[in-house]
Amino acid sequence: MGTDPIFRTAGSIPDWARANLFSSWPNALLTIGIVYVLWQALPSLVNWAFIEAVWHAPDSKACRAASGGGACWAFVAEKHRFILFGTYPFDQHWRPALACIVLVALWSVSALRAFWKWWLALVWTGGLAVIALLMWGGAFGLPYVENERWGGLILTLLLTSFGLAFAFPLAILLALARRSTMPALQGLAVGFIELVRGVPLISLLFMASVMLPLFLPAGVTIDKLLRAQIALILFAAAYLAEVVRGGLQAIPAGQYEAADALGFSYWRKTLLVVLPQALRVSIPPLVNSFIAFFKDTSLVLIIGLFDLLSTIKVSLTEPAWTGFGVEAYLFASLIYFAFCYSMSRYSQNLERGLAKAEEGRRR
């Protein structure tokens, strides 16, 4: 296999530069050109973002006056509570904050290979129950907060976590059905997966927001958040199902045959032999799908839910703070980037670790 270029790391700085920056005439010219462009662009960028930026200001006028053409981060400082927690009652903000911490802890625990046991499902059930209690309240002296008031970062994390937690089992069933030898099951699974994957997520969200109320008998209503969550679950299930199917296809036929030879029933074979191996293979691509899904939850803005991006956009519509869109969306990018980049690094490390473990087992 070919490899990425391996850069010389040993030796003195001039040696390093000669090998990696000035190895040939075109390379040297390229390096000089890029350094020149960076030299031109970077100082004004640093100036804008840090040196002339305003970090605290009572209102937007002061911010505009105080900054000599720098960024106005005071917008973020002023609005951070709304951006993180939406319209949740102000004195109760510790509850969504704690829920965020529990969620991140759940994800971190699931990332450790020592915890890849069946009881992780129990941990998740318990964790999600605690979060639901924290967010809704109505017990243990916590005042009840209806979910129209949930918003901000916690809503983005909740939509992602609940979406994946429900989509994952559904995806496994869909993948098994698609690989099944029964034509009717296979047909239903293929139809569902291809339908969902063939249309944009927005059309599913529109469907959830305007068509789902029509689907239900008169008198039964589900609120907007739940409707969007259902659409997101179905969307994620279709994509995850294809990843799981990839894992199922990677299992050698000998494994199926060996399980059959032992006289295992379909479910014993699937649960004890096939799935443990297939899921292990598909974890890195699954994490990539999780990242894509995390980013896709930002689309709920279009049907009027107050997720992270939406609270940022709403903050900008306040007349006093219009015109700071660049700062606001850069801040949004940084939050999303922090989550996605750490997940993607984790996935790369995991891939390497699993490959090494696989090699060790073969030996």
Partner: protein, 383 residues
Amino acid sequence: MKLSFGDPRFRALVYQAAAIGAALFVAWYLVSNTLANLEARRIASGFAFLGREAGFEIGETSSIAYSAADSYLRALAVGLANTFRVALIGIVAATVLGTVIGLTRLSRNWLVAKLAAAYVEFIRNVPLLVQLFFWYVLITENLPPPRAALEPLPGVYLTNRGVYLPVPAAHPAYLWMLVTFVAGIVSAMLFARWAARRQALTGRRPPMLEIALALVIVPPALVFLAAGAPTAIDVPRLSGFNFTGGMTFTPEFAALTGGLVIYTAAFIAEIVRAGILAIHYGQFEAAHALGLRRSLTMRLVVLPQALRVIVPPMTSQYLNLTKNSSLAVAIGYPDLVSIANTAMNQTGQAVEGIIIIMAVYLSISLSISAFMNWYNARIALQR
């Protein structure tokens, strides 16, 4: 087959009948509820509303003439044309940019490779919608008004009302140049097939490159000269508060297309890089050992193998770009989804509107995948 649950074939039949029964029941339940609800709300179902007058203006009607007095059907056609416009320009530009960045990541120059890697990592890990909003506010809030327009290149103007480019003024000769150009490409391809046959028969190879270039370039050049070499350029000019003339990209179009291209290019770059890394060193060495020239090594050995790895994920990126163009609704570019959304809000025909959106995207998806499956089968390994 025994009629007992112990027989696997009987069991399979029972399961399948149950699954189909459940699916049919759910479908019947949803449809009957919907019909009852529509009746209760006195909404007439059906697509008759498409013939009615739309009554709203559309900001961008590039290829289909449209006014508010036209029908909903025509409005949707304008939206579909706008979707195709973004998707086509986006796919071409994202492929070019993505390929360049993918190759750049493999550069031996440390600075270049790291910059490309940083681009890919940052762009891939931020949601497209955030990026679209960012480009949109960057254009509408941070670029100067037309009177103080930025002019990075002569004749190119960047303003908060859009981007203006100079284009060659319309001239009938250009159409004929295009016709002769296409004819040149077709004849060059025919010539290449004849040359390959001749080489197989006689071992002699006619001068390919020179003749092909001549076939493609000379006829359009002759047309150009025969028409008196029209070089008039339509340069955008400030008149009143805005620019006229030249080619205009609205802020919505520029933000949407630019955002989609920058986002998709990061994914394409990774695909191109993976495709090239997948080729074994031995392949290059074997081609050299056979005495193939470098260009032939690329064309006959490396590219066919790399394309086999690249084409399937590339297809799904093209599909993603087309589906992602539906985010236009968030920044107000009148694509199909955004116009269907307006029509749904005006008429209350939500079910029909969503069926139209889904049907259009499904047919686009299925036809692109059908084409790519055909192409894939054509370039697949022949065993």
